[in-house]
């Protein structure tokens, strides 16, 4: 692998060449030789984009909503990068990546860079690849980056966690969906969107979500935003007058006014109560409110210091993830050198040894090596 090729690619990417950005993401996604150099070089140029993750069950309207969001940002002169993650077949590795088909509002607009990625099955690899692809888009100069994924499992939850703000999309009347949300996705949502709000059952779904959010809130949050609960429930109760509006207030505090004071005032931290909004993505209803809420959340993250905290956590997690996979690879190679895992397994089954002893045995040189270092 030649370092020069990577540097050239990075240079062209930073120059704004679309093809170079596309190729960099290809390398990141397939972890081809040299991709680490690329990400390393890009890292210094990142940090300017705001990153939103959108998740929800299949058919909830994620892609359509992303399309409308992208259009909104474009209309305001901002550039957009989108990463659409789709599952791949665990059997053949093949996949049909279908999110792109809904990007109808941004036809031929190169300043919306849409990239489909598939979960290629490496454990934890997808979130690493997504985070790195986000870096590439960020370094390229995209103002807004949207990650879109089917909220199915741990893998997808990890992916969406690479975003600063997480939007969970729910369909009306999906009582079972809401049940499913309880099982994990609820915790990660900063904003909940009931899409297809012109369908029957939308108000009930909104109410159910409101209720769940207030159950999950810690008591302090309730004190902080006491007006919020009743108002929101009221809203949900009599909303037969239309749709597309936001329910409840936006930010719980006015970040611009309170930021400086609260940052030093540890006793009263800013708290974000997840918002429940309604949209009709196909017509674009409620998109303005959604954008506003996303900006509010961004302001809140800034003001509360959580943005920096999130970045630190994410960086820590990235380091751990990289080390895990690297050490894993080293050990796999070591096992192969010693005759492969099958031979060890056979010995364990024959009761000649046990798994712990084998692990200890394989690991020993590494441990000695680290222990012997005097620095």
């Amino acid at each position: 692998m030649s370092r020069a090729v990577e540097s050239d690619l990075v240079e062209r990417l930073l120059d704004g060449e679309h093809r170079a950005l596309a190729r960099a993401i290809t390398k990141i996604e397939s972890q081809s030789p040299g991709y680490r150099d690329i990400v390393s070089e890009l890292h210094a140029h990142t940090g300017d984009a705001s990153v939103v993750g959108i998740t929800g069950s299949p058919g909830a309207g994620k892609s359509t909503l992303v399309d409308k969001l992208a259009k909104h940002y474009r209309d305001h002169g901002e550039t957009v990068g989108v990463i659409g993650v789709d599952p791949s077949s665990p059997y053949t590795g093949g996949a049909v990546l279908g999110d792109r088909i809904r990007m109808a509002s941004n036809v031929g607009d190169m300043d919306v860079f849409f990239r489909s990625m598939s979960a290629r099955g490496q454990l934890g690899g997808l979130s690493t690849a997504t985070a790195d692809a986000v870096k590439a888009l960020d370094a390229f100069g995209k103002d807004r980056i949207i990650i879109e994924t089917v909220g199915a499992g741990q893998n997808e939850v990890d992916v969406v966690k690479t975003a600063d703000t997480v939007v969970v999309l729910v369909q009306p009347g999906s009582g079972d969906d809401v049940q499913m949300l309880k099982a994990g996705i609820l915790e990660i949502g900063d904003v909940f969107v009931v899409n297809k709000a012109d369908m029957e059952g939308a108000s009930r779904t909104v109410a159910e979500l409101q209720e769940m959010i207030h159950l999950r809130d810690d008591p302090r949050a309730n004190l902080d935003t006491g007006h919020h609960g009743t108002e929101a429930l009221d809203d949900a109760g009599h909303r037969d007058d239309g749709h597309g509006g936001g329910h409840g207030g936006h930010a719980d505090t006015e970040p611009d006014a309170d930021a400086e004071d609260d940052a030093s005032d540890a006793d009263e931290p800013l708290v974000w109560t997840p918002q429940v909004l309604e949209t009709v993505a196909t017509t674009g209803e409620g998109i303005d409110e959604l954008v506003e809420t996303l900006d509010d959340h961004r302001d809140y993250l800034d003001a509360s210091g959580e943005l920096a905290e999130k970045a630190r956590k994410r960086a820590g997690e990235e380091i751990r993830q990289l080390l895990r996979s690297d050490v894993n690879r080293l050990l796999e190679a070591e096992i192969d050198r010693r005759g492969g895992v099958d031979a060890f397994a056979e010995a364990v089954v024959e009761k000649e040894t046990d798994p712990y002893a084998v692990a200890e045995d394989v690991l020993e040189p590494l441990r000695e090596c680290l222990d012997d270092r005097d620095d």
Binding site: A22, Q31, T92, G93, G94, A95, V96, R100, G108, S118
Partner: protein
């Protein structure tokens, strides 16, 4: 590293371009490619050449499969090729065309930079093998 030895995943864009509403063939080929282990992006119907160019460039696909049954291939294909050229994507994208392409039009399309044309009745495996064999190297 082990990444070197891993088999590369071939990415394809299956594109319906122009005013042509027949996509059974495109669906069938999408599924066959998926089952062959490729990653397939399907464009949807009635796409403008610009859209297909945008998708090909951004997705960095190895293979662009264009399905045309409307007879407009002599207009649409050159537009696509010019667009790919503009973004520096023509050289390392394998371009194949499927659909109804009269024999006398084929030399011209191949001349424009199309790598292969598969007419009706082509066995699926033949197309898959061709793609596997000719997918460009992504160094």
């Amino acid at each position: 590293m082990s990444a070197d030895s891993e088999q590369r995943t071939i990415r394809c864009l299956i594109a319906k371009v122009g005013l042509d509403g027949h996509d059974r063939g495109a669906h069938v080929i999408s599924r066959a490619f998926r089952d062959a282990g490729f990653e397939v992006i399907y464009s949807g119907l009635h796409r403008a050449p610009d859209e297909i160019i945008q998708a090909t460039v951004q997705e960095d696909v190895d293979v662009l499969g264009i399905s045309i049954l409307s007879g407009a291939h002599n207009t649409l294909v050159p537009k696509l090729m010019a667009g790919l050229e503009e973004y520096g994507a023509l050289d390392d994208t394998l371009v194949i065309v499927g659909g109804i392409i009269p024999e006398e039009d084929r030399p011209r399309l191949l001349d424009e930079g199309v790598d292969a044309i598969f007419g009706p009745g082509t066995p699926m495996q033949e197309t898959i093998d061709f793609v596997k064999e000719h997918a460009p190297e992504r160094a």
